[in-house]
Assembly symmetry: C2
Homo-oligomer: 145 residues x 2
DNA sequence: ATACCACTTGCAACTGACTTGCAAGTACTT
DNA sequence: AAGTACTTGCAAGTCAGTTGCAAGTGGTAT
């Protein structure tokens, strides 16, 4: 089971136009294993500091983002979070401002939103990307608020 | 016209629970004068570096944000942007990834979105805030892309 | 298999956004 | 006019993310 997974990941990386190096495989494997977006620090700690330099992780994520392999999300914590991008499942996150708990939700109606924005603005030709986060209180934090 | 505006701004600040100090008046007046969100650096430069310390600007914006007087938006430029919050006019921004040009659009259907998210998640009790940005290409940059 | 070379990585040093501690200043109250 | 709690300014610090460059390595051609 380990070998096939590795091979598959290498294929994903090569298809994206990169060499299937050990750091890139480690980053991609780590992202495959998480449920919610992870910060760079979490990614490095998760992989193991001795296995890959943080600069390398920054560069890999930047490159993966550029080819649409990963999505960068902003939880307003002063640092970037990353997760694999799943084109078929455009989801967003709701973040608890009390405890940083995260859950997913879907249905932002991206296409309609993009059309609406383009029809309202005179200077824009196309929408290529979007970011949407909801902030709120989880069942636990709402009691102590 | 200058005096009344100043008095009015002072009232806004006091109503929010702060003392109407010179730095706070300057920040609020500057935000009143901009068309699109400004970075801290732009705010400081706009006000005049000699008139107010950058630490003070950071603290003022943080405080104004906490009471809902200003909104912080993320254009994925690695720094925060700020603008006055207009409760009656919930607008969002579309940002050109080529030249950083910004325009507004409205109609994100916040209430419906919040309901949708709450019905899909089991752990959240309420939505208190949201962030939404579209990224795209303006009429100029789309030609050179 | 071997060698090559462009692509990658790791290290060290750096930048720039933002924060903290604290003494000095000042808006509002009495 | 004076007091005091709220604010500010300065200096120094933290932390995320970047840059330059020499050393390393994956994929290809031989």
């Amino acid at each position: 089971m380990k070998k096939p997974a590795g091979v598959e990941l290498a294929g994903i990386i090569r298809k994206a136009g990169f060499r299937a190096t050990k750091p890139r495989l480690l980053v991609l494997a780590f992202l495959h294993g998480i449920e919610y977006p992870a910060s760079i620090k979490e990614i490095i700690t998760g992989i193991g500091r001795e296995k890959v330099d943080q600069v390398t992780v920054y560069r890999i994520l930047e490159a993966f983002k550029a080819v649409g392999l990963v999505a960068q999300v902003d939880f307003q914590h002063g640092r970037a979070y990353y997760e694999l991008k799943d084109a078929a499942h455009d989801h967003h996150h709701i973040v608890c401002t009390g405890c940083d708990r995260v859950e997913d939700f879907t249905g932002c109606d991206y296409d309609k939103l993009a059309d609406k924005a383009l029809s309202q603005t005179s200077g824009f030709a196309k929408v290529t990307n979007h970011s949407l986060e909801l902030f709120g209180l989880c069942n636990t934090c709402v009691k102590t608020a």
